[in-house]
Symmetry: C2
Subunit: 518 residues, 2 copies
C-alpha cells in the first residue's frame, strides 16, 4: 500500500490537471450546429407575420424618446416623423437591415482560441444577465457583490460548454452605480479570457467599456489590414415594449455601433402586459421592434454587427407575474428564430429561464423546457443559459452549475447523428449477435469514452449507492461542484503591463466622479 | 358581509364542481398535433438506416426463443430458419407490415368520449409503466401495493392531460404474482373510464385481460356492423435486445393479435450494453427488432393494430447504470419516430424518464428533456409520461403530479400558433399604442382566460409571497396536490351488474390457482 501511495498521489495530481485542462482549454469555442432547426410555421405563416410587422411599423410606428438624433436619421432615410413617433413605409426597416447588417460576425476574445462566431450555424452559450440578487444553499438569497460577480466570471470561465463570459452576471450592488461598470468589465478581462459584454446603462459607460477593451486588446483591437475596429464587445439593448426605445438604450447602442461593436436589439416582453396575449401578435410586435432598432444601428454605422433579440415570457393571469418554461413563450421563440433566419441576421434568445425561488424541480422543468426550445430553435446567442432563478432576479450558484451541465448536453446534441461507418456500427451488431451484450465488443471499447454525454450533476447510481453517498439531491451536489470549481480556479494569463494600465485607467476615471453619485 | 357569505359559499361549491368537471370531463380525449414534428435526419440518412436494418435482418437475423409457432409462420412467409434464428430476405418484414398494419386505429374506452386515436396526428399521453416501488415525501420509498395502484389510476383519471390509464402503473407487490393482473385490470375498469393496457406477463394473463374487457365492454366490445372485436386493449411487448424475442412476450402478443387488440412492439435498449454505443447503430437495430416483431403480429392476424415502440437510454460509462434525459437517447428517439412515420405505423416512446432518486432538479431536467423530445418527435403513444423516477424502479406521487402538469403544457404546445384574426391581434396593438400596457385592452379581456397555460405546480409569486405561503419547493406543492386530488376523487359510473360480473369472474379465476403459486 505504502509503495503505491505516491504514485496514486501523482496520478491524482495528473487527473486534476487533466480535468482542469479539459474544462478550460480543450473545450470547443462555440457550437457548430449539425442538426436542423425546428420550424413551427411554414412560409405562409411567416409572411403573414412579416406583413403584420410592416403594418405595425407603418400605422402605429415606434417612439424614440428624448433622442432627436434617431428622428433625424429616420427622417433622412424616408420615415414619417410625428413628434417622437416614427412611422416607416412598408419594407423600409427590412431594406435598411438587409442592405448592410452582417449575417454572421466574429466576436473576438482576449484569447483568440475563444473567438466566437455569432450567427449562421453557430451557437454561443452565455451566462445569465442582470440579477440584482444571488443565492446559494449556504447563504440563501442576498444582494450580489463584486465578489459574487468575480465568482460567476470564474465559474463561466471553467465551464466547458459556456462559450462566453456574459455581461452583468449579477449586479455588484456593493459598488456605486456610476462606477460599477468599470469593475464588471475589468473582472471579465482579468478573470476570464472568453468574450464578454459591455455596459449599456449610459452612453458614457458604453464608451468606458470600449476604452477598457482597447487597453485589453491592444493592437489586436484593430484589423491588421484595414485598421478598422474588430468586434470585441457585444451588448444588450432592450426595447421598452410596446413600440418604444429610450434615449439611454439608443445612446449606448450608438456608441457601440460607431465603434464597430455588436448590438443585440432585444424586445423584452411579458406577453399580456407588454404585447398581446397571443403568439402571432407578440411575434409581429417583436419583429417590428427589432427591425426598427436594428435599422437604427445600421443607419448609425452601416455594417455594424447587430443581432435580432427576443425575450418573451407569458404571464400568470391570476397574479400578473411572469411565467417561464411554458408552451406559449416556446412558440414565440421558435417563430422569432425563423423570422431572424428569413431576415438573415443572427438571433438571440434565452436560456435557462424559470420563475422558481429555489434550484428545485420547478426551476429545472422550466429551464429545461426553455433550453430545449432555444437549442432546437437554432438560437445563435443564448443569453441566460446558466444561473437564472426567480424570473431573473437571482443568480444562483447551484442553478448555474446545473444549467452549465445542460449546456454540455446541448453542445453534444448539436453534434447530430454520426452516419460514418463507425457511427453505423453494423459490424458491432454482427460481431455481438442475438442475446449477447455489447460491453466487451471492439466497437464499444473503441468508442465508449466519447459515446455518451457524461453529466457532472446527475447521480445515476443505485439507490443503495446513492444513499451511501449521503442521499444528496441535485442542488446539494451542485453546491459541492461550484465550491470545488472555485477552489481549483486558476486565472488565465494576462500581460502585467496591460493589467496595470487597466487599473490605472479605472482609478483615474473613478476619481473623476463625485462620490455623491453613489 | 353576512349577506354575502351564503352566496360566496354557493359560489365556492360551484367552483369546486366546475374544477372537478373540467379536470375529468371537459378534457380533450387526446392531442391532435397542429405543429410539425422535428426531423433530425434527411431522407438519405433514414434510407441508410433502413438499409442497415435490412442487412441486420438478413445477415444476423432474430432469435425467436422457445416459440416454434413463430418459426413456422416466418418459414411459410419466406424467411430462412436456422435453429431458433430467423433470417429475413431484405424488405420482407417491411412488406408484411406495410401490407396489413393499420397506420392509425382507435382504442376504445369504457367511456366512448375517452376513445383515443393512436397514430397519425394524434398523441396520447400515458402514465409510467412497470415500477415495483412507489415513493412519496411522507412515506419514502417502498414496494408498491394494490392501494398505490388504485391511487395512480385515480390520479391519472383526474389528470386533464393524461389521456390513458396506462397499464402496470406500479407493481402491486402485496398481491400474488400469478393473480395480481386481475386486480390491475379491474382497477383500471372500476376506478377510471379512460382506455388502459392489458397484462403481458403470460399468454393466459393476456387472455384474462381480454375476458375481463369483454365483460366490461359488453356488446360494445364488438363492431356493430361486422361483429369484429374492437380494439379496447393495448399492451407492451418488449424485445430482448439485441435481436431476441422470448416465448412469454410472443405468446402474449399472439393472444392480443388474434383477438384484434393492439400490440406495442418495443425494443428496450440500454445503449452500450444491448446495442452499439452510437445513435445510428442503435436506430438500425431498433428498426430491425421492431420490424420483426410487428411482422410476427401481422402474420398472426393481418390487420391487427400494432405500434412501433422504442425505449432507448444511454449508459454511464463509469458505472454501467442507465442514464436519461441526455442528448443521445433524444437523437435516437427523433430518428426512430421518423423511421416509424416512413413505415406508416404509429410510434410509441417515453415520456418523463429520469435516473434521479428524488423528485428534484435532476429528475425534472431529465424528464423535461425527454418530454420535450417526445413532444417534438411526434410520439403517438407516450408511455411513461408521468410518475417515473429512478430509472423506472419507482413510481413517485410527487413526480406524477409534476409530470402531469408538464403533460398539460405539451397539450397546449401542440395547439400550435393561432393565425386567425384574433390570434394576429393587430387591432390590440393598434389600440394600445407605444408605451402603454395591454392588460386592459379589449383583446386581452376577451382572451386572457385561455391565453396561457396555467401550471398547477409552478409558484410564480414574488419571493415575499412565496415565503409567506411557506416557502415550499415544487415537490412539496406536488405533495399537497396529489393528496387533495385523491380526497376529491369521485369514481366514474359503472353498471352494477357489470361490476358484479367482473368480481365474480375474478373470484372464480383466482380460486382456480393453487395458493402456493405466490
Amino acid at each position: 500500500m505504502s509503495s503505491e501511495s505516491p504514485r496514486r498521489r501523482r496520478g491524482a495530481g495528473r487527473a486534476a490537471r487533466q480535468a482542469r485542462a479539459s474544462a478550460t482549454q480543450a473545450a470547443a469555442p462555440y457550437i457548430r450546429r449539425k442538426v436542423p432547426s425546428y420550424e413551427v410555421l411554414d412560409d405562409a405563416g411567416l409572411e403573414l407575420i412579416e406583413r403584420n410587422a410592416d403594418r405595425l411599423l407603418a400605422e402605429v410606428g415606434i417612439e424614440f424618446r428624448e433622442y432627436p438624433e434617431a428622428l433625424s436619421l429616420f427622417a433622412k432615410a424616408g420615415a414619417e416623423i410625428d413628434g417622437e413617433r416614427v412611422r416607416f413605409p412598408p419594407g423600409m426597416c427590412r431594406e435598411i437591415v438587409q442592405k448592410s447588417a452582417p449575417s454572421t460576425f466574429v466576436q473576438h476574445a482576449r484569447n483568440p482560441e475563444r473567438n466566437v462566431q455569432i450567427g449562421g450555424d453557430a451557437t454561443v452559450l452565455v451566462p445569465a444577465y442582470g440579477p440584482p440578487f444571488v443565492s446559494d444553499l449556504d447563504g440563501g438569497r442576498r444582494y450580489g457583490t463584486i465578489e459574487d460577480f468575480r465568482n460567476f466570471v470564474k465559474l463561466a470561465y471553467m465551464a466547458p460548454a459556456l462559450h462566453h463570459s456574459g455581461g452583468t452576471v449579477c449586479e455588484p450592488v456593493d459598488l456605486p452605480v456610476n462606477k460599477r461598470h468599470f469593475d464588471m468589465v475589468y473582472s471579465h478581462i482579468r478573470y476570464s479570457d472568453k468574450p464578454f459584454m459591455g455596459s449599456v446603462t449610459a452612453p458614457e459607460r458604453a464608451q468606458d467599456s470600449i476604452d477598457m477593451a482597447k487597453i485589453a486588446f491592444g493592437e489586436s483591437f484593430y484589423e491588421p489590414q484595414t485598421g478598422a475596429p474588430r468586434c470585441v464587445l457585444i451588448n444588450l439593448i432592450n426595447a421598452n415594449s410596446p413600440m418604444v426605445f429610450d434615449n439611454t438604450m439608443l445612446g449606448a447602442a450608438k456608441v457601440y455601433a460607431e465603434n464597430g461593436q455588436a448590438t443585440v436589439v432585444s424586445p423584452f416582453i411579458l406577453a399580456g402586459a407588454m404585447s398581446p396575449v397571443t403568439v402571432a401578435g407578440t411575434a409581429a410586435q417583436i419583429l417590428a421592434e427589432a427591425l426598427a432598432g436594428m435599422a437604427f444601428v445600421q443607419l448609425v454605422n452601416p455594417g455594424a454587427p447587430t443581432v435580432f433579440g427576443t425575450f418573451a415570457s407569458s404571464m400568470s393571469m391570476q397574479s400578473g407575474a411572469p411565467t417561464f418554461g411554458s408552451p406559449e413563450p416556446s412558440l414565440v421563440m421558435y417563430v422569432a428564430a425563423q423570422l431572424a433566419r428569413r431576415l438573415g441576421v443572427p438571433f438571440r434568445s434565452g436560456g435557462g429561464l424559470c420563475a422558481s425561488k429555489l434550484p428545485d424541480a420547478q426551476a429545472a422543468y422550466e429551464a429545461a423546457n426553455t433550453l430545449q426550445t432555444a437549442m432546437l430553435a437554432g438560437v445563435n446567442f443564448m443569453l441566460h443559459t446558466a444561473g437564472w432563478l426567480e424570473g431573473g432576479l437571482v443568480m444562483s450558484y447551484e442553478k448555474f452549475m446545473m444549467d452549465a451541465d445542460q449546456a454540455g448536453m446541448i453542445q453534444k446534441f448539436h453534434g447530430g447523428v454520426d452516419l460514418s461507418e463507425n457511427g453505423q456500427a453494423i459490424d458491432a451488431i454482427v460481431e455481438t449477435g442475438p442475446g449477447n451484450h455489447f460491453l466487451g465488443s471492439t466497437h464499444t471499447q473503441q468508442n465508449f469514452q466519447s459515446a455518451f454525454y457524461n453529466s457532472s450533476i446527475a447521480d445515476n447510481n443505485s439507490f443503495e449507492q446513492w444513499q451511501a453517498d449521503g442521499g444528496l439531491d441535485a442542488a446539494q451536489r451542485a453546491n459541492r461542484r461550484w465550491k470545488a470549481a472555485l477552489e481549483s480556479y486558476e486565472a488565465p494569463p494576462i500581460d502585467p503591463a496591460v493589467d496595470e494600465e487597466l487599473l490605472a485607467y479605472m482609478g483615474e476615471r473613478k476619481a473623476s466622479f463625485p462620490d455623491a453619485n453613489y
